[in-house]
Amino acid sequence: MSDSELPAELPRAGRPVYLNLLAIRQPVPAIVSILHRVSGALLFLVGIPLLLWAVQQSLASPEAWAALRASLAHPLAKLLLLGLVWAYLHHFCAGIRYLLLDLHIGTELTPLRQSSYAVLIVSLALTAVVGARLW
């Protein structure tokens, strides 16, 4: 950045410096971005070990397969599963969006907002589809 791009006074006198993230109204792309982080962390901490455990159980024996199905039928297990399914789908959809942005597709402000809404809606809709199959 050259000096000419810097404002003369930083910050302008009397202006509030607002860096409280909870007090700033976040634009939709920012919400998608933070949810990308949250869902990623959730998948790392809960999703991977649960997936490994479930695959291990599912392959062990027909009885273990049936037992796994029975334990996943519990409402709390379904809720947890649904949360993780959402995390995976949101992370997936937001990731596809980032890959498209890297290819310089949809980098104008309006498409950026539209694709952010699309990520939120599509991942929730797909989660609902999975949920409908679960229940």
Partner: protein
Amino acid sequence: MVARIIVGAHYGWKDWLAQRATAVVMALYTLLLLGIALYEGGIDYATWTGLFAHPAFRIATLLFGLALLWHAWIGMRDIWMDYVKPAGLRLTIEAATVLILVAYLAWLVEVLWGPGR
């Protein structure tokens, strides 16, 4: 005149690229699994174990696992770098993250090729 780089570790662009390459690998594996499920019209115990009996599917699953661990390392490290400022604490958490990821990998290998298989 010798070109000298005096700032930065320069691993950023490699991680940026790795994050995208691993993402594509995982997306392809996800679509493969979805395609198999749709083709079979649902997955029961016999189809599921039959799938894992194929060496090619086990290897594809290991590739997915490796991509996932690499991806998770870059992502989690970025999160720790952004939010955990004290260097000692961050180093401890990052080391724990590496240990957890390697343990996940060992677990996956156990599931795919362990004595239970």
